[in-house]
Symmetry: C2
Subunit: 331 residues, 2 copies
């Protein structure tokens, strides 16, 4: 799977900005790839990109229509289908992050095959993987882990990639979720992989590489999350991380989706993750904390960061406010 850029970002007729969160993320991280947005009547989101029709986008050189929308049920609305057909008619591939499959849109798959176009369902995978073997691979790997789901693991990995490349280091973001896959143009939707192959799919995602090459692997879930920890552990074993960065969103009363289960402390998460990671990399170390302080005042934010430093003995930053220079220094 290699999603060709540049992209036209299709956000349909979503009712608010949150429903276009995936597309926003892609537009933020890949401004050069996102030539425009296509909005239908009634759309309440705006990516800050030029509005384009399919024809205008085709003329501008767009290679892929990205369906980067979240809705209840994850299906393609009837009102979107015309745009999708038009994209194929005008020489584009389509990549979707919906739960529904592009193959199930009437007529789309046949039309794409006949035209030599590709349909990418990034939430699904028909790829087969080997079972994880845990053998040591050359190159270096950093994995972002977290105290919970949705607490900045993708953002932190991408910020690290940018900082490291700016310093002339060999660094490559490795996507494991839908937004990350649009941003990277490839990757593995790890939560869609059959469970026997979780760690094996990650071994495939970040293979042998140059000794000074860094894979920045997008983490998922948390080792203490009752719903997702299996995915998290497979990611830990498969990525055999040399280095961990732990991500945290303070102030959550419990982990997302599991009201009975409190969020564990940074140091508990670091210790449990390191213990697990030693199975495939005995030399793993945690180099710092990435804290999302967006909901805090400046004073509260600094107190939270200092608290993290005191608790863990490690650097702590908010990647949005401070960047991750301090973390890259610690590599």
């Amino acid at each position: 799977m290699e999603i060709k850029n540049p992209y036209l970002m299709f956000i349909g007729d979503v009712p608010d900005q949150l429903a276009a969160k995936t597309a926003s993320g892609v537009a933020h991280w890949r401004p050069d790839w996102c030539l425009g947005q296509l909005r239908l009547e009634g759309c309440k989101a705006d990516l800050g990109l030029p509005d384009m029709t399919v024809l205008e986008a085709a003329a501008a050189g767009v290679k892929t229509l990205i369906v980067g929308v979240t809705n209840q049920g994850g299906f393609f609305a009837d009102s979107w289908v015309e745009t999708m057909h038009l994209a194929i008619d005008n020489g584009m591939d389509i990549a979707s992050g919906m739960h529904a499959k592009l193959d199930d849109v009437p007529g789309l798959s046949d039309k794409a095959s006949a035209a030599g176009r590709q349909l990418f369902d990034v939430r699904h995978t028909s790829q087969t993987f080997d079972i994880g073997r845990g053998h040591k691979r050359s190159g270096m790997r950093l994995l972002t882990v977290g105290t919970d789901t949705s607490c900045g693991k993708m953002f932190t990995a991408l910020t690290l990639e940018k900082e490291m490349r700016d310093r002339g280091m060999k660094a490559e973001f490795r996507a494991t979720g839908q937004t990350g896959i649009f941003i990277a143009g490839n990757g593995v939707a790890i939560d869609a992989v059959v469970s026997d192959f979780i760690s094996g799919s990650v071994e495939w995602l970040c293979p042998e590489n140059d000794p000074d090459h860094w894979d920045l692997v997008e983490g998922q879930g948390s080792i203490f999350h009752a719903g997702y920890a299996g995915v998290t552990l497979g990611l830990i074993h498969g990525s055999q991380p040399d280095v961990l960065v732990v991500c945290h969103d303070p102030g959550r009363p419990h982990m997302r989706g599991t009201p009975a289960i409190p969020v564990r402390s940074l140091s508990e998460v670091i210790e449990a993750t390191k213990e697990a990671a030693r199975v495939t990399n005995p030399d793993v170390r945690c180099i710092g904390c990435a804290i999302n302080t967006s909901k805090l005042s400046d004073v509260e934010a600094e107190a939270e960061l200092q608290r993290a430093r005191d608790e863990t003995g490690l650097p702590a930053v908010d990647p949005v406010k401070h960047g991750v220079g301090v973390l890259v220094d610690a590599l």
Copy 2:
């Protein structure tokens, strides 16, 4: 999914006894359900059951043809297809533990639908599950865990079920692998579940129950196995075990399939598993060890069991030689 018994055990033309291991396990644990075996010319395995044709089995009341064979590639040999069609023609369902799907056998699915018969692919699941929530459920649960894959977790859980039922306790084996599913008649092939739903599928498998009811959940893999630990951790969180029994096959130089990674000690496995299990059950405890001493002399076996007792401070038995009475006493 509920596989109807009695069964006719189909073992085709397998080249040795090992290739009929699944069928042997079913015949061992469910002698009353397994009315006969069907072997083709050249078959080198024997389940010790009466040989039967499909017609004889149908006359004897068989409800399901079980394809309980292991071969390279996991496909249905051409020579088996006639038997499978004949089973449908004679009113049987078919359940298979192969990697290939019964639906892909030419004509079989249409014939089964027309006849109102069911095809069960126990290695696959089309069932949808919720994401694990980690909420406390009534009833009690025991999970068998291990120092590696294939070290007696299913056998131990089934032996516990038998012992507990013999004592008049409410006990139910919960199958998570193909052989176990044939033995229970239902279950979840946990390694075939999409990874987002590992723990959720286990929550479904052992739901709320009477306060004095025990689910005996078949474990898989090991928390230290670089290929399978994600599955193992999902099982731990989803089953929220009150009690663990740790299974061990001594003398392995490394974990199966991961030559770089040594087998961890019993006490390391117990501690790591308990730590993980506390996420959904803070009161989890390990009650003992089940050691496979089949490759040892009597003297060596007793030394190995004593070593396990000394290391863990817990009872240790070989379930095959001694039963699991000592473990049930410890409940």
